[in-house]
Symmetry: C2
Subunit: 216 residues, 2 copies
Amino acid sequence: MSKVQKLPTIRRLPTYLHKLNEMRKSGIEIVATPELARYMHLEAIVVRKDLASTGVTGQPGVGYKVAELIDAIRAFLSWDNTSEAVLVGAGSLGSAILGYEGFEEYGLRIIAAFDTDPAKIGRTIHDREVFPVSRLAELTRRMRIHMGIICVPAEYAQKVADELVEGGVWGIWNFANVSLKVPDNVVVQREVIAGGLAVLSVKLTALRRELNSESE
Amino acid sequence: MSKVQKLPTIRRLPTYLHKLNEMRKSGIEIVATPELARYMHLEAIVVRKDLASTGVTGQPGVGYKVAELIDAIRAFLSWDNTSEAVLVGAGSLGSAILGYEGFEEYGLRIIAAFDTDPAKIGRTIHDREVFPVSRLAELTRRMRIHMGIICVPAEYAQKVADELVEGGVWGIWNFANVSLKVPDNVVVQREVIAGGLAVLSVKLTALRRELNSESE
DNA sequence: CGGCTATGGATATTTTTTTATCAATACTGC
DNA sequence: GCAGTATTGATAAAAAAATATCCATAGCCG
Ligand SMILES: NC(=O)c1ccc[n+]([C@@H]2O[C@H](COP(=O)([O-])OP(=O)(O)OC[C@H]3O[C@@H](n4cnc5c(N)ncnc54)[C@H](O)[C@@H]3O)[C@@H](O)[C@H]2O)c1
Ligand SMILES: NC(=O)c1ccc[n+]([C@@H]2O[C@H](COP(=O)([O-])OP(=O)(O)OC[C@H]3O[C@@H](n4cnc5c(N)ncnc54)[C@H](O)[C@@H]3O)[C@@H](O)[C@H]2O)c1
């Protein structure tokens, strides 16, 4: 069982990457931790550790080369080679994801979409053709796609996952609100958007409690 | 500075909650940790700790009462009183969020949307009226809304955040790819969807390395 | 050149989170 | 009712992540 370390660091890396890409675009070549830390609302030491874990090394007294950082992060995340994916469920969330150009920056290219809705099949959404889900396994295998993105209602997610696995997929990014059963050699990452809302709620409650007790 | 503990637990709670709600709907009254653990792909001990942190207590040898668990989780997350929010940026992601009924389960009700696009202003999206963003601060204050959801392109996010703060908001759920500057008495939760993709990428690479080395 | 400041990197410490162990409780089947 | 099993909850240990300290290096400025 592959046990991946430093999950919190990995989750932060895309944010560094995005900021660094912006910096590079505006001609900045060197960046020091305190600046990144301010931007990220983190302690400088956290940033340094995060960057170190990708293998880059900076210049004491100076900082890091932006271009090197970008390369190191992308290499660490295996985002230096674009990987192709299919998206299943071209509903509202699925369409939003299809239309998000940001993923190209993250080495993800969504090649095609699949749906059951006859009104969608055969049309294109954000330039990607929508195929009937009945052809999911077949086309996924034929196109040698190794990642699937699930945006169907929860009750159909398992069936879709099974077909993705049958199609030879190695990784599944699951936005549906269910836990999927897949073979050991397939990785599932479930995106629980409500998790962020939960954190926000708790922080809000804590802050309000604090402010109330202060004012007493 | 409010320092909230047990963030990983908090992120997992919505998933328990959803499953428990499903169980209640199908008439199940008692649940034991091993079952939840199987569903969540976690160790039973993690589940027990998570549940314990909400304050519920189970019956040794039996399990937990589903209804009690639901109440405890909702209370812990302050989701027992529905809170109202406004959404800014009724684009593709914004519309998806507006249309997602799942948030009601999590105590969130989106009251209105705001946008700059004249084509959207005045129309309704998923039954919510779209107002011009020029009225954001005013209406937020007048409706006594305390949460804002930002779904605008990154470059406008800070301006929107400023107006939300001016409108008296306490919490901001930020889907844009920037770090926001807000006063100390406002909480921002940034949702970095690419974070999940990063984790998936790293796990995939690790798994493939493992499989390769095994086959040698 | 020489002191001053900013910075990264190595190492150590602390805190948080995950995992393990075990006694106590309740149900099951006989 | 009693033995066996499943389960919780308390306590302890281990692992992971965040934080602190200190030293070496680099640039700056007079
Ligand atoms: N919208 C959100 O903000 C949001 C947030 C978090 C999670 N989610 C989850 O994302 C998923 C999709 O949500 P949505 O709002 O886009 O719903 P949606 O109803 O807009 O879209 C679902 C799409 O899936 C298609 N579909 C249904 N069954 C299918 C099947 N068997 N195979 C292929 N396609 C199928 C439908 O035709 C539709 O186009 C849900 O599981 C939801 O819980 C959505
Ligand atoms: N679509 C995704 O899958 C996805 C994923 C992750 C993050 N995001 C982020 O979410 C945000 C929105 O993405 P999207 O795909 O919905 O983009 P989009 O272009 O579809 O929607 C943006 C909406 O914001 C409106 N808008 C622009 N400026 C505004 C302003 N100043 N005030 C109010 N409204 C304004 C636009 O009119 C448009 O309706 C972006 O910041 C994006 O990075 C999107």
